[in-house]
Symmetry: C2
């Protein structure tokens, strides 16, 4: 119904929200399989909120996103592999922002506000000590752009896996009838699966906009292989997964409004991954509002929220379709396409 | 995968958790279309938690469910129609429990702990002043039983609607491989729809256990009618919906563990309703743990959580299938079956 009036933005990605830049850096080879994705706010920052839903999160600077706290603009959001060690990537991002004079002004300095969340990918490249740090975060800033976002085995999703398949980074956007843009970037790394094991179809695929997934594999012949891959996560261990979300809109929202937008993102995860938000997952969502467009009325906000949930689910599908098979000394993660197209 | 090892309990409902009793009372005719559903804990109470996800909730006694607060047992959970006015039903439940000596012991008295949440159905029967109160809550206690739960236009779901169709009360249960039971009761009352408007199929139906939905209507011929019904909610107004959940298990969980179980329930809503958790919905979930079985290890808890999300989605499907068409002076709410079987 409402969906009839929704179309993807020109890049079908987070950078369809004007002013946002995304930078990604990967750490591969020599035992490494991880990376970092940085979302840079426009100059002066953006309003932001968060909703941490998973039971095993790793985060930084989320307390200042609670409504009622002082700081009301963030300058970047960081998603990183490396489990809690990966939180150091935000320090590298802060260094670059400080050098650029971007941050919360204090006497004689600026303090860049850089909330971050991490996912578990430790040891997937073979060496548990090979993980993203400040230098990789800084590098991601250096390569950031407002253009089309590379998806799949890249950035925070480099070491990601989901239900025995290779996970990755994905993105999608929605432009509503009134011109509002809402977009998402996700790093898909779940104990659960993105696949309906009964049919082999990606759970979120039904939420694709007209023509969005033109080359969906016919998965029916690969149900057994997909089921087998999904069953590899049969003995889950706490803290071994986590999917991450950055949502963004060009609307004016306050911190609480951004938090509510982040909440809607988790409904998208619930539609595209099963199970999700488990004790093994630290699923966290951030939302940014650039404030280029005025604050929405209730009807407009309702439409944005509905689209936000589905844009996250669509981004999950893009992540799974863009992922490629990875084999390291620590394991083998087939891509969805490699099994579904076999 | 894990689902292969899940089966419904003997009643496929909340009362499959031993010791729980459910009582429902409806208020119909003379301008009324509302009701109340009470879940009674076993003598001495049960551990409980909550997760209020919707943006427009109406609740009572949820603050004492926050981990770290003093009270660690609840004696009943109340779901009611009547918007915030319906919170008075909990007073009637408290009166019955007090008379039975059930409650938190204080000098010379007991204080029954009865968390409650309400849904919006005001005026659907024609008279906005016809709403559940203490007497109806007390009556629901009087008729409570541990038997099979009536579904559809009954109890808290009496005045419920979803996406232009008649909503209602539904329930389902899951018995896991190790014998643990997890069950849910829902009152489905959403701005969003339980139907995939592209296909006419109930969104949660694919999560049915083998043989659970044997008589699913073939909806393809009714897509237009279903779409039209869904579009009747085209101009949503804040606070005009809300779906409610009670989850329960026979495991030992603390307050925080019950809260986490409630969180999983919202993933089930996300899979069975779209959109959900909107600014028009006050979606709230409670979870009870009767503690008959020992506390689960991480692997067992993971399975319970995964089943909890899906048992809520299945309960939504049961609610929509059991609902019957209702017409009052205020409106017409066709049942899903009436359109899908036409």
């Amino acid at each position: 119904v409402l969906d009839d009036l929704v179309r993807p933005g020109p890049r079908n990605g987070l950078t369809d929200v004007t002013g946002l830049r995304v930078g990604q850096a990967s750490l591969t080879g020599d035992g490494a399989l991880s990376g970092v994705t940085v979302v840079l706010a426009p100059p002066g920052g953006a309003a932001a909120g968060a909703d941490v839903r998973g039971a095993a999160p790793g985060t930084r600077e989320t307390d200042l996103l609670v409504p009622g706290t002082t700081v009301d603009r963030v300058h970047a959001i960081v998603l990183s592999g490396g489990s809690a060690y990966g939180l150091d990537t935000a320090g590298g991002v802060m260094a670059r922002l400080e050098a650029a004079g971007e941050g919360f002004a204090v006497p004689g300095a600026v303090v860049p506000i850089v909330p971050a969340a991490v996912l578990f990918d430790l040891g997937r490249g073979g060496d548990v000590r090979a993980r993203p740090g400040a230098a990789l975060g800084a590098h991601a800033v250096d390569v950031a752009s407002g253009g089309t976002i590379t998806q799949g085995v890249v950035g925070a999703g480099t070491g990601a896996a989901a239900g025995g398949l290779k996970g990755g980074t994905g993105t999608a956007s929605a432009v509503l009838e009134d011109g509002t843009t809402v977009a998402a970037l996700v790093a898909v790394n779940a104990v659960g699966s993105a696949v309906d094991v009964a049919t082999g179809v990606l759970l979120g695929a039904r939420l694709g906009l007209p023509g969005e997934f033109p080359d969906l594999p016919t998965a029916s012949g690969a149900v057994d292989a997909l089921r087998e891959a999904a069953e590899r996560r049969a003995v889950p261990r706490p803290g071994t997964a986590t999917s991450l979300i950055v949502l963004a809109t060009d609307l004016t929202l306050d911190k609480a409004g951004c938090g509510r937008l982040a909440t809607m993102g988790h409904d998208g995860l619930a539609r595209a991954l099963s199970p999700v938000h488990t004790i093994m997952d630290g699923d966290a969502a951030f939302a940014l509002a650039t404030g280029v467009r005025p604050a929405p009325d209730a009807t407009a906000l309702f439409a944005v929220h509905a689209a936000a949930a589905d844009v996250v689910a669509r981004a999950v599908v893009h992540a799974m379709l863009a992922a490629t098979t990875v084999t390291t000394t620590a394991g083998h993660w087939p891509s969805y396409r490699s099994l579904a197209e076999a």
